[in-house]
């Protein structure tokens, strides 16, 4: 994907946000999809709407367990505020949606397929460094990411080769490479880092930050389960 096409996509995306300057998760995931990064299949329920009895969730694939999340550019720490409900069965879905709508009356709700995976949770991030400009990060993701600090940075843009070096620096690298039977497509992950870096060049102005956390290897592809874009 060319740099100008990413630049155009970012511009268009900026002007499409429902709350200017404050993208919600659904919108941030849309941005990632547009540069070729997969996210779970999902349905976005706008503020005040309710879950359609059958129609909506059919896009989530065969019936199974779902993730229900509050989805608003105004709520950055949704887990801490009780805004994420995991492992919701089809039967309990309407009640779960209603519960979040009651707690967060002015926010939308995102219903997603519950992605199955067993390998490592990875974080890919980007930010603007005051000395060196846009930078990209990869590391051990999930809720303990700040505890382990197993991360590696490079400046953006960043070549795929360099992205491979970043991965090789990580303590969790062996878990991508067959450690205890765990393996994943390393080159495809490096490609995702490369694209995130490209995004960083156009997206990340002073003070802006991107977190893709976690991104996991599931059914032969990397899927970004949660994405946060903070603009200023």
């Amino acid at each position: 994907m060319s740099s100008t096409s990413i630049e155009n996509k970012v511009k268009k995306w900026h002007s499409s946000l429902s709350i200017p300057g404050k993208p919600n998760e659904w919108e941030s995931k849309g941005l990632l999809n547009s540069i070729g990064v997969s996210t779970p299949r999902g349905v976005f329920i706008e503020t005040g709407n309710s879950l359609a009895p059958d129609g909506d969730v059919s896009v989530l694939g065969r019936p199974g367990h779902r993730v229900v999340k509050v989805c608003s550019g105004n709520i950055l720490h949704k887990t801490d505020q009780g805004g994420v409900l995991l492992d919701i069965s089809e039967n309990h879905l309407p009640a779960a949606v209603a519960k979040l709508q009651k707690t967060f009356p002015s926010a939308g709700v995102l219903v997603e397929e519950m992605v199955q995976y067993r390998g490592s949770e990875i974080i890919i991030g980007a930010l603007y460094d005051p000395t060196f400009g846009p930078a990209v990060m990869v590391g051990a993701g999930g809720i303990l990411t700040e505890l382990y600090k197993d991360v590696s940075f490079r400046l953006a843009p960043c070549t795929r080769k360099e992205a491979h070096y970043m991965l090789e620096e990580l303590t969790i690298f062996p878990t991508l490479q067959g450690y205890r039977g765990l393996s994943a497509d390393i080159d495809s992950l490096a490609g995702t880092i490369e694209r995130a870096a490209e995004l960083a060049v156009h997206l990340v102005h002073r003070g802006c930050q991107l977190d893709i956390n976690p991104i996991v290897w599931s059914q032969e592809r990397w899927v970004a389960l949660d994405v946060k874009v903070v603009l200023t």
Partner: protein
């Protein structure tokens, strides 16, 4: 200002002046202007003391002010206090002096008044085309031509032989203290530059200059803040394809003014981005002054390692075991491994080794080792294709080892393209031995951890070079 070709010529003059004015030169012993002027009398440049209160200083005719000087001046060293220094620097500018070194502190770091002075100083380069080093700069020291404006002890006599390392330091004292210590055991110095407050000349200018300088084979930098971040990195990458660039970046700054609400922002601080950026652009990062000097010395003197397999020769089992432990400890700089010696290497070592020796890696020749055994082992390891780098743990205590070993080792090592590092345990004679090694073209350290750290720098350098070659 950006460095152009004509600016590189000016920097050349700054380091190799034919004529130098010292403003504030003095006859009073102990005054900065006295120490600097006396130091300069050892260089070949024409010297002009400037001081309105003196007629003659150290036998030189003294001029009341810059405008009275009878010659074109390449460098003016301004040794007077901040307020006067600005005035003098402006006079230097008006009189077309190419380079001005401002020694005084007391500028932006002291508050509003100092900031105003610094602003006046800053205007000079654009207005007159003069380049300014400092303020708050210890100046420069170039062993090759004895040009030395540093007024504190910095091992200048030991460093006088010169060498290939350009040492560029934002902090004068970190620079000279490090050099002073390193000089005890020999340090190949091309030039020292104290950047100070960097209102004009900064690390990027000197990176360009020494990058292009044929007599420089390694650049060592101490920096607290990087000016023009991306340009600096891009220039460093160009330089690092030809010579090693090592940087000690001290001082961690907050990520930015805005609130950090992402994991990425919290994990970054500023420091992890620096490490990543340095790695990406071929800069080797040192974390303290000892590491900076050790790495520079090793990288200037020794070839880069072609791989990460290390062989160890020792006469003392314990140090061999510890060394193997250090080698196999993980490090983000470079993973090392103990080399597996070939059968022919092992039998070659066995032929001459004492009966209780262990001829596998680490090779332990025991206290019964002789010069001949040691050299035989060293030569076998140098020729083993499975060994990339060798650590010699050498003691000169056993009666069977004589000082002649140093010459024999030097001959074997200097004929080889494989790096060899020597560790000798610290004791009363160590510095003498280390200096002796250095004179003969070998690198030694008085601590095992320092030795293995330096090994990692050579392996990292090898990896940087092959990545750059692949890219080209």
């Amino acid at each position: 200002m950006n460095t152009s070709g004509s600016d590189l010529k000016k920097i050349h003059k700054l380091l190799n002046p034919e004529s130098v004015a010292v403003v504030g030169a003095s006859n009073s012993k102990g005054k900065v202007g006295n120490i600097i002027f006396e130091g300069l009398s050892r260089c070949k440049a024409r010297l002009y003391p400037v001081n309105p209160h003196e007629d003659v200083i150290a036998g030189y005719k003294t001029y009341p002010q810059i405008a009275d000087l009878p010659d074109t001046i390449d460098v003016a060293v301004v040794t007077v206090r901040a307020e006067q220094a600005v005035e003098i620097a402006e006079q230097c500018g008006r009189n077309n002096i190419d380079n001005i070194i401002v020694v005084a502190g007391g500028f932006a770091e002291t508050g509003e008044r100092g900031k105003a002075l610094e602003a006046r100083l800053k205007a000079i380069p654009d207005r007159y085309g003069s380049r300014i080093l400092g303020p708050n700069s210890l100046g420069v020291f170039v062993p090759e031509n004895n040009f030395d404006t540093i007024f504190v002890e910095h091992g200048d006599r030991s460093l006088a032989e010169g060498g290939g390392i350009a040492f560029i330091s934002q902090s004068g004292s970190v620079g000279v203290e490090a050099l002073g210590l390193a000089s005890n055991t020999g340090f190949p110095l091309r030039a020292f530059v104290g950047l100070g407050n960097k209102i004009d000349l900064n690390e990027l200018d000197f990176l360009k200059f020494f990058g292009a300088d044929d007599k420089t084979d390694c650049l060592a930098l101490y920096i607290e803040n990087v000016e023009q971040g991306r340009k600096f990195l891009e220039e460093a990458k160009k330089v690092s394809s030809r010579k090693a660039v090592i940087a000690l970046k001290a001082g961690r700054t907050p990520t930015g003014a805005t609130a950090v609400s992402s994991h990425t922002g919290k994990l970054a601080g500023s420091d992890r981005v620096v490490s990543g950026a340095f790695r990406q652009y071929g800069i080797q990062r040192a974390f303290d002054d000892e590491e900076l000097c050790d790495a520079a010395k090793a990288l200037s003197y020794l070839p880069p390692a072609q791989g990460n397999r290390v062989a160890v020769i020792t006469g003392a089992g314990g140090f061999g075991v510890m060394c193997a432990d250090y080698i196999e400890t993980d490090s983000p700089r470079a993973r090392l491994q103990m080399a597996e010696l070939s059968d022919s290497t092992i039998s070659r070592i066995q032929e001459k080794a004492p009966p209780f020796a262990s001829c596998h890696n680490p090779v332990d020749l025991t206290a019964g080792m002789t010069n001949e055994m040691f050299i035989n082992t060293l030569e076998a390891l140098l020729e083993d294709a499975g060994v990339d780098i060798i650590v010699c743990i050498t003691f000169f205590a056993p009666h069977s080892i004589t000082d002649k070993l140093i010459d024999q080792m030097a001959t074997a090592i200097n004929d080889s393209k494989k790096p060899v590092m020597v560790f000798t345990e610290y004791g009363p004679f160590t510095d003498t031995y280390l200096k002796e090694f250095y004179k003969k073209g070998m690198i030694g350290f008085p601590s095992l951890t320092r030795t293995v750290k330096a090994v990692r720098f050579l392996v990292e350098r090898g990896r940087i070079l092959s990545a750059l070659e692949e890219e080209a």
